[in-house]
């Protein structure tokens, strides 16, 4: 059986190796239990060969000088996961029915469901947090010149993710179907409609017709909870694959010291 690599645990936490002669070669039942986790992982790995990928993802090196600015991307992804989880709970109660059902279901969640207002608040404010984090992450990438060779494609994927995030907040805003939601969406779709060439078609598509009608709400709901989150999840996957493959950038002011071996050779 292939052996898994030892994780880089700090030395004081490592279990001491068994002394010679201890146990006399017999395997105690306790040891079987102790190795159960490893055995399960080995069993899965023998059939999937996932350990190579996991090692490639987790035990790669991040360059010298990596600082707190480099956590903004993963923080954005975490905000997205939080939105996904709270969104699932809200979807359990929501009814996309413009003739009163939508508003009533949100009122029910807010006022009657256990922790309902808390979860809806997390979803509502989580969207603002996510938008802020997306912009901070983009600012870091821009000012550090991290979009340059060889990471151009990852920048393009990131811009698509930014647009999808804005689309999420636009479509989500309508769903509570209160006055503020309704009128902001009317204004939003009208702004879309003034656009060149595609504008009128885009707002007809969003409204499901030339006027704001009965199917508009369910269309926004489907875009908000199926289409865009699926696209965002897939693109985050692609973004992460490229990050892992190409590596995160080092801070731009950092110059590599010459390899000590090379310096010795030059001297």
């Amino acid at each position: 059986m292939p052996k898994l690599p030892a994780p880089p645990v700090p030395a004081p936490l490592k279990a001491p190796p068994a002394r010679p002669g201890e146990g006399n070669g017999k395997v105690a039942p306790v040891d079987h239990g102790r190795n159960a986790g490893v055995a399960v992982v080995d069993w899965v790995d023998e059939r999937t060969s996932l350990s190579g990928g996991a090692r490639w993802l987790m035990f790669r090196k991040v360059p010298k000088g990596t600082n707190w600015f480099y956590t903004l991307g993963s923080a954005t992804m975490f905000a997205f996961l939080s939105q996904a989880v709270t969104g699932v709970f809200l979807a359990m109660y929501y009814r996309p029915d413009p003739s009163g059902g939508a508003y009533e279901s949100i009122r029910h969640v807010t006022n009657e469901v256990f922790l309902g207002q808390f979860v809806r608040g997390m979803h509502k404010w989580g969207s603002s947090v996510m938008v802020i984090l997306v912009f901070l992450h983009m600012g870091r990438t821009f000012f550090f010149g991290a979009y340059k060779y060889p990471r151009e494609l990852n920048w393009v994927i990131g811009v698509v993710l930014l647009i999808l995030t804005m689309l999420m907040s636009f479509t989500g805003y309508l769903l509570p179907f209160d006055q503020r939601a309704y009128w902001a969406t009317i204004v939003g779709t009208n702004i879309n409609g003034t656009g060149p060439l595609l504008g009128p078609y885009l707002s007809d598509f969003l409204r499901a017709g030339p006027e704001f009608g009965a199917t508009t709400l369910s269309r926004f709901y489907a875009i908000h909870m199926l289409l865009v989150p699926g696209a965002i999840a897939a693109l985050i996957g692609a973004h992460l694959y490229l990050v892992t493959k190409l590596g995160t950038t080092a801070p731009p002011w950092l110059k590599a010291e010459k390899d000590p071996e090379l310096r010795k050779a030059e001297a």
Binding site: V129, Y149, A250
Partner: protein, 244 residues
């Protein structure tokens, strides 16, 4: 970047990477700490700010002032400031579309190998200016009235009279903006030119009673405003008769 610069970068990056630490557990620990901060922020905001639900959507109201979510305020403000109809599509879709295209293509037109912010003055200054402009537009969008508000100078005669005349004038201005007159009439730089006539100088063309009569008993397709509350109705008449 030419081939030499590319190879130089990859060599340099390879050295920096080999001198770094493994992603797990060092970077993972930082990311986890940051995730806790994000979670704490979201939970605090949810507990402190809550999730208010306004009154139920009513498509027949004409007095509601629509406001988008705060991160669209900058777009909302552009729409509010740009009044001439020929420029509106340019401002609302043209500028954001152009911005998006420039953002998409950034790595393809900025091809210099330099990465330090202080040695890329054009990029750095552009970035700061864009951020400042968006912050300014968001701030003024947050403090602005509705995009249907009327913006025009108060006539000196009304300012001089002050007191109730001025108050009625301002109330009328607000009422006209909220009642939807701008959908068909142009007043100064505000509203649509047509199908109704321009109202910029209506006070000079029609006497006060004439304006009131038209509001109560208009020519189709203009709707009648006889159901407005009397105080609001009088304010509207007063405002319109001051447009000379």
């Amino acid at each position: 970047m030419n081939q030499r610069e590319k190879e130089e970068y990859l060599r340099e990056y390879g050295i920096l990477k080999s001198q770094g630490k493994p992603f797990f557990p060092y970077a993972v620990a930082k990311d986890a700490a940051m995730a806790c901060v994000v979670m704490a922020c979201i939970i605090t905001m949810s507990l402190v700010l809550g999730a208010e639900l306004g009154s139920k959507a009513n498509p027949t109201t004409t007095t509601y002032v629509p406001r988008p979510e705060w991160y669209f305020f900058f777009l909302f403000e552009v729409l509010r400031v740009v009044k001439p109809p020929s420029l509106v599509p340019l401002a609302t879709i043209g500028v954001p579309t152009l911005g998006m295209i420039l953002l998409f293509l950034l790595p393809f037109y900025d091809r210099s190998p330099e990465r330090r912010p202080e040695r890329r003055p054009i990029a750095t200054i552009t970035g700061i200016v864009v951020i400042a402009a968006m912050a300014f537009l968001t701030y003024s969008g947050a403090n602005a009235g509705s995009p249907t508000a009327i913006e025009m100078a108060t006539p000196p005669a009304v300012l001089k009279a002050g007191g109730t005349t001025l108050a009625t004038y301002e109330a009328g201005k607000l009422a006209v903006a909220q009642t939807g007159c701008l959908a068909c009439h142009k007043i100064g730089e505000n509203g649509n030119d047509g199908p109704g006539p321009q109202l910029t100088h209506i006070g000079a063309r029609l006497p006060r009673q004439g304006i009131a009569r038209t509001l109560v008993n208009p020519t189709a397709p203009m709707p009648s405003f006889r159901n407005l509350p009397p105080q609001k109705f009088n304010a509207v008449v007063e405002f319109l008769s001051q447009l000379k």
